[in-house]
Each structure stands twice: as structure tokens, then as C-alpha cells.
């Protein structure tokens, strides 16, 4: 059971951003995709979810062997893919709880029972140390950066996807919030789920230890390794990788 990206080329209206990315995430694994600003990290995340602003010009996205390259975002979600957004949209007039119920029911034949939903929501809110009053607020309306990120992870915990992409979930979080969010993610790790954690910084990787690390620069993965690669990056910075890759002629 895998999420597989094969030779992915992606462009926006202006230019090509990803120039052939290959990546395989198996269930049970946690991957970190790291890269400096403008390297194409968010483009990859958005393309995985089918954001219409990005066009795949070459390559494929496979989930458990099924080609999702042209699928609508809702089909991908129902197939088991999830993304925690870096900048989630505001949904006025829809409370956190109602939105969550709608999302859960979208993937089900029978709507979830009110009691079951309530219990699950309570459990996950406790896990993420979210105040009860939070669920009656309109989703992301007037939320602080940290609240938005927690709402994203709360959805992850409720929806229990097979593969989750976390797009810069750590940015804008203070250390306490980062720890809580990381604990939430760790609680969800297991044999039946794969994670792709996209980040600029190594901070979150101190809490959520990745099995594999990939470094994306200028739309291509230039280095891959185990969690020690993140430590190396922490010490030496992206310049080091750039120089090294430049020297090898990539």
C-alpha cells in the first residue's frame, strides 16, 4: 500500500515548478520533504491533492496503484489522501463541528451517528488540547495561526486518512503548540498510515522522527536519506546541499 509519485512535472500559468519528482511513501512510514522557500514543496502538496491552479504536464500520482493524476480533489480524499494546509481557507457560516461532520459523512455510506461523532470529537480535542468552545466557531474565521493548524490536525485525527501530507504545519507555531500538534501526529502513526511532512525547518522533526528525508531544491529532489540527513541539514543549512549538488553537476 503506497503513495507513489512518478517523474512529476508541474507548472502554473507562469512557469514549470517541479521538474520530475519521484517519491514513494509506504504505509507505516513517515517521510520528511524539506526544502528552502520557493523549492516547490507546497506545489507538490497541492498537486497531490489536485489543486486546479497547478497543471501536471508529465508523470503520475498513484495511490495503492490507482492513477489519481487527473482525479478531482474530493475523489482523492475519498481514496484516502489528506492534506493539512499551510494556509487553510476560511469557511464562513459553517462551524468546526458541522464541517467535520460533513467531511466524515462524505466518505461514508451511512452518516455517522451523532453520539459516535460527539465522542470521537471529544477524544480528539482532548488529544490536541482544544477548548470545547472552539467547535462552534466558524471554521478558520478569526482563528490565530496556531488555531488554524490545530483545526487542520483535528480534521486529520477525525478523518483517519491512509496517507497524510502536512504542508508546513510547524510554521507559525510556538513551541508548546508544536509539541501538542506533534504528539497528535505521533499518536496517529502506525502500520496503517503513511505521512509526508513538508517543512522548511528541522524543528518539527525533533518531535516527529521521520524514517526518510528528501531534500527538494529548485523543483527536484537532490538528496535522500534517513533521519540523520535532517540533522546534517540542521548543522550545515541548505547552502551546503546546494553547493554539494552544484559540485556534483546536478
Amino acid at each position: 500500500m503506497t503513495l507513489e509519485v512518478q517523474n512529476l512535472h508541474v507548472r502554473t500559468e507562469e512557469r514549470e515548478i517541479l521538474h520530475g519528482v519521484d517519491l514513494v511513501v509506504k504505509k507505516g512510514e513517515t517521510h520528511a520533504l524539506m526544502g528552502p522557500n520557493g523549492s516547490g514543496k507546497s506545489t507538490l502538496a497541492n498537486t497531490l491533492m489536485g489543486n486546479p491552479n497547478y497543471e501536471v504536464t508529465e508523470g503520475r500520482i498513484l495511490l495503492n496503484g490507482d492513477d489519481l493524476t487527473e482525479a478531482d480533489p474530493d475523489e482523492r480524499a475519498r481514496a484516502g489522501l489528506f492534506m493539512a494546509f499551510q494556509y487553510p481557507a476560511t469557511i464562513p457560516g459553517v462551524s468546526v463541528a458541522n464541517f467535520m461532520r460533513m467531511a466524515m459523512n462524505a466518505g461514508r455510506e451511512e452518516p455517522i451517528k451523532v453520539k459516535e461523532f460527539g465522542a470521537l470529537l471529544k477524544k480528539n480535542m482532548e488529544l490536541l488540547k482544544i477548548d470545547r468552545a472552539f467547535t462552534s466557531r466558524y471554521l478558520n474565521e478569526g482563528f490565530s495561526g496556531g488555531e488554524k493548524k490545530r483545526a487542520e490536525i483535528l480534521q486529520l485525527a477525525m478523518l483517519q486518512p491512509e496517507f497524510a501530507v502536512l504542508d508546513e504545519t510547524d510554521s507559525g507555531l510556538d513551541i508548546d503548540a508544536l509539541r501538542i500538534v506533534s504528539e497528535g501526529v505521533n499518536a496517529m502513526r502506525g502500520d496503517d498510515r503513511g505521512f509526508l511532512i513538508i517543512t522548511h525547518y528541522t524543528r518539527i522533526l525533533n518531535y516527529v522522527k521521520p524514517d526518510f528525508v528528501h531534500i527538494l531544491i529548485n523543483g527536484k529532489i537532490v538528496r535522500e536519506g534517513g533521519s540523520e540527513l535532517a540533522d546534517e541539514l540542521e548543522d550545515k543549512g541548505y547552502e551546503f546541499v546546494r553547493e554539494e549538488v552544484g559540485a556534483s553537476g546536478a
Binding site: 480533489p73 474530493d74 482523492r76 480524499a77 469557511i91
Partner: protein, 435 residues
């Protein structure tokens, strides 16, 4: 019933005479004026070319309660006018008076003489004159001083046959410190052909009164022309919350004014419209402050599908000698179809210093990022659109503060969206590709 007290020095003509004099004067105006066309800079024109006045007639009906969906079954009073006739009156609260205006002219002559037409000049326009000249049946509501009415008063104007002319007048007098909820419905059957509702509504809220007023218009798919003027006067320290809901009408041309007339008066004016097919909606609202130390808050939201046209103009007008006013007007409009066209124009006339008055307006489309976000949660595009549009209107709907009516409005919004699903999808698709 005790005879009404007659003021000792009353030189006023009696109510029946007053009404008859007004009819005669108005008829002259109606007959001398041409059928108007309203033009504004830009693309906007509201024309009555399609309306054939010659075939219209005031249709009379025998008493009987037609089948109606009003959201709530509970009411303190229900009065129904079908075509030109009041066909049903049901009163469950002995504090209040709810009866045909024709009857009130005789039975509540003083109140009628004092208020009838006070804020509705008969010579304002051809159709205002027509209404003043030809009105039949009509509705009179009196909520006496200190009365507290629990259940809403429901008024229904029904047109369910082609070629109907309905000349409508509603007069509402709310006494000092009285509290009441009033819902006025404008409903049409889905018949073929045209009809006219030419309406006048006036409400006077006396000192300290608390009025919760809603207008619910859903003329259905027939070619109903609605040409109406509604005015609400808010007295000293009184408060009126007014929620007009426009859910349908072939052509609607309305003037909705709320006047804070004395110090301490407060108004909350929150309206919505949703146009579809080839409907044409032209609304002009005024938040008029005639006294200082008055407050206002106006919010209007609209959505357009099909080839419909909708124009909303909202004016804040603060007259001289009205300082310390605090008021705000905002208007939003959402296009959901490539062939719909509309505008939303807030404006301001302030003739005095030392007030707080501001306005804002947006005309926009659904945000593709919001739709994408919802779809990444497994929600279909159609469902995402429905939720976003309902969420957009929710701010207005919840101000109804009336679960039954709120449900009715939500259901109608959802039905309209379902009918427009294909064009909305196409529109969003085009936008996403163009972006």
C-alpha cells in the same frame, strides 16, 4: 367595545373621508403619469415594457384559507389577502387588532386618520398613486401601548392566478413600549402569465417599542411584477429589526426605507436576495436619520444565478440637526453564473458634522480556494458550493430569530442552488482555468 375617545379639538377629516379624498387625488396622479422606466448610469435599466396593464384586474375571492407554507404554524394572528380580497383572518390574542384596512377605516378611524399615508405620499410615483387610488382589502395592525405579543403576527399576500392586479396597503401602528414580531409574506402560485403586486407598507413604532419585522417574498415562477414602497418609522428609544428576504419575482422594483425619527431610536436592517432565471430585481434602501443620537446597522447580501439581474443601492442619509449618529451599511453580492449581472452600491449623504457613518460593498464570486479546500475533505463540488452559499447567507438568515422561518429560507436557498448546479459548476470551472 367602548366607543373611541374623540379628541375635543379635532379638526381632522374623518378617516373614511380622508381615504376617499386620497383615492381621488391619487387617481389623478396615476392617470396623468406615464409608466416609468428607471435608468441609472452604466448598464442598469428597469423597464415595465413586458407588463400589460390593460389585462390586469383586481380578482375577488370568497373567504377561505388557502394552503400556505409559512415556516411556522404558530401565530398570534394570521390575515391573508388573495388577489383583491381578504379571505382569512384569525386572531388569537385579544391585546391586538389585526383586520382588513377597509374595516379599520370605519372601526379604528382615529388611528387610521393619524397614521394612514403619513410616510407614503400618494403622489410619489405612478404606482404609489395607483396603490393609493385602487387598494382593496388591506391590512391594519395595531399593537397597543405596553402590549407584549408572544407569537408572530403573520400577514400573507397571495397571487395565484394570471392577470391579477393586487393593490396592497399594510398599516402597522405599534404603541409605546409594545413588543411584537410581524412577518409579511408575498407568495405566488406557479401559474403561467403575468400579475402585478403594487404595494405600500408603513409601520410606525412609537416610543420604546420593540419590533421584529420580516418580509418574505417568493412570487414563484410566474411573471409577477412587484412595485412596492415600504417605510418604517422608528420613534424615541424604539428599536426595529427588519429582515427582508427576496426569494423570487419576475420583476421587483422596491424602495425600502427605515427612518430613525427621534433620539435614541435604533434600527437593524438585514436583507438578502437570491435571483434566478431571467428575474430582475431593483432595490433601493435608505437608512435615514432624522434625529441625533440614533443608531443603525444595515447589511444586505445577494446571490445571482441564471441570466438574472440584481441591483442593490443602499443609502445612508443623515439630515442636518442629527448629530451623534452612529451607523453602518454594508452590501455584498455574489455572482454564480456567467450570464448573471448585478451591482451593489452603497452611498452616503451626511449633512451634519460629528457623526459616525461608514459603508462598504463587495461584488464577487465564490472563492475557488474555498471550494478546493472543502473538496480535499471529500466534499463534492456541488455540496461545497451549497455550503458556501448557505454560509454566506447565514448571517442574514439567523437574524430572523425564528427557527421555522429560518428553515424555510434555508430550504429555498438550497433548492435554488440545486436548480443552478450545472451553471455554477461550469462557471467555477471556467474561473479556475482562467486563474
Amino acid at each position: 367595545m367602548a366607543p373611541e375617545a374623540i379628541p375635543a379639538h379635532s379638526a381632522r377629516p374623518s378617516a373614511p373621508d380622508l381615504v376617499e379624498d386620497r383615492r381621488r387625488a391619487a387617481l389623478e396622479v396615476y392617470e396623468s403619469e406615464d409608466v416609468p422606466t428607471w435608468r441609472r448610469s452604466g448598464f442598469w435599466t428597469t423597464s415595465l415594457r413586458g407588463l400589460d396593464l390593460d389585462v390586469l384586474e383586481p380578482k375577488r375571492y370568497e373567504p377561505g384559507l388557502p394552503q400556505l407554507d409559512l415556516g411556522d404554524d404558530e401565530h398570534s394572528a394570521l390575515i391573508v389577502q388573495r388577489g383583491a380580497s381578504v379571505v382569512h383572518t384569525d386572531l388569537n390574542d385579544d391585546q391586538i387588532v389585526v383586520m382588513p384596512l377597509e374595516q379599520a377605516v370605519e372601526e379604528h378611524a382615529d388611528l387610521v386618520a393619524e397614521h394612514f399615508g403619513r410616510r407614503l405620499p400618494h403622489d410619489e410615483s405612478k404606482f404609489a398613486a395607483g396603490t393609493a387610488a385602487f387598494w382593496t382589502g388591506g391590512v391594519f395592525i395595531h399593537v397597543p401601548k405596553n402590549a407584549r405579543v408572544e407569537k408572530p403576527i403573520q400577514v400573507v399576500w397571495l397571487i395565484d392566478e394570471p392577470n391579477t392586479a393586487q393593490w396592497a396597503h399594510t398599516l402597522v401602528v405599534v404603541g409605546e413600549h409594545a413588543e411584537v414580531r410581524i412577518r409579511e409574506f408575498f407568495l405566488g402560485g406557479d401559474f403561467e402569465g403575468q400579475a402585478l403586486h403594487s404595494g405600500a407598507f408603513e409601520l410606525y413604532a412609537d416610543t420604546g417599542a420593540q419590533v421584529d419585522l420580516a418580509h418574505y417574498q417568493d412570487w414563484g415562477s410566474a411573471d409577477v411584477y412587484d412595485l412596492s414602497t415600504r417605510r418604517v418609522e422608528v420613534g424615541r428609544d424604539a428599536r426595529v429589526k427588519w429582515v427582508p428576504i427576496h426569494l423570487g419575482g419576475h420583476l421587483t422594483k422596491q424602495t425600502l426605507d427605515i427612518i430613525t425619527a427621534e433620539p435614541g431610536s435604533d434600527m437593524r436592517h438585514t436583507g438578502m436576495y437570491f435571483t434566478e432565471r431571467d428575474e430582475h430585481l431593483d432595490l433601493f434602501t435608505t437608512d435615514k436619520h432624522e434625529a441625533g443620537h440614533t443608531t443603525g446597522d444595515t447589511v444586505w447580501k445577494g446571490a445571482l444565478t441564471g441570466e438574472s439581474r440584481a441591483s442593490y443601492e443602499g443609502l445612508i442619509h443623515i439630515v442636518p440637526k442629527a448629530p451623534e449618529v452612529d451607523t453602518y451599511l454594508q452590501t455584498h453580492q455574489m455572482l454564480l453564473s456567467p450570464k448573471a449581472k448585478g451591482d451593489a452600491i452603497p452611498s452616503l449623504i451626511v449633512e451634519v458634522d460629528n457623526v459616525k457613518a461608514s459603508h462598504g460593498g463587495t461584488v464577487g464570486e465564490l472563492d475557488p480556494e474555498q471550494i478546493f479546500y472543502m473538496m480535499t475533505r471529500g466534499i463534492s463540488r456541488a455540496e461545497a458550493v451549497r455550503v458556501l452559499v448557505e454560509g454566506y447567507f447565514e448571517e442574514v438568515v439567523m437574524r430572523l430569530d425564528d427557527p421555522g422561518l429560518e428553515q424555510l429560507v434555508r430550504r429555498r436557498i438550497s433548492e435554488k442552488l440545486a436548480r443552478a448546479e450545472d451553471q455554477v459548476r461550469e462557471f467555477i470551472g471556467e474561473r479556475a482555468e482562467a486563474s
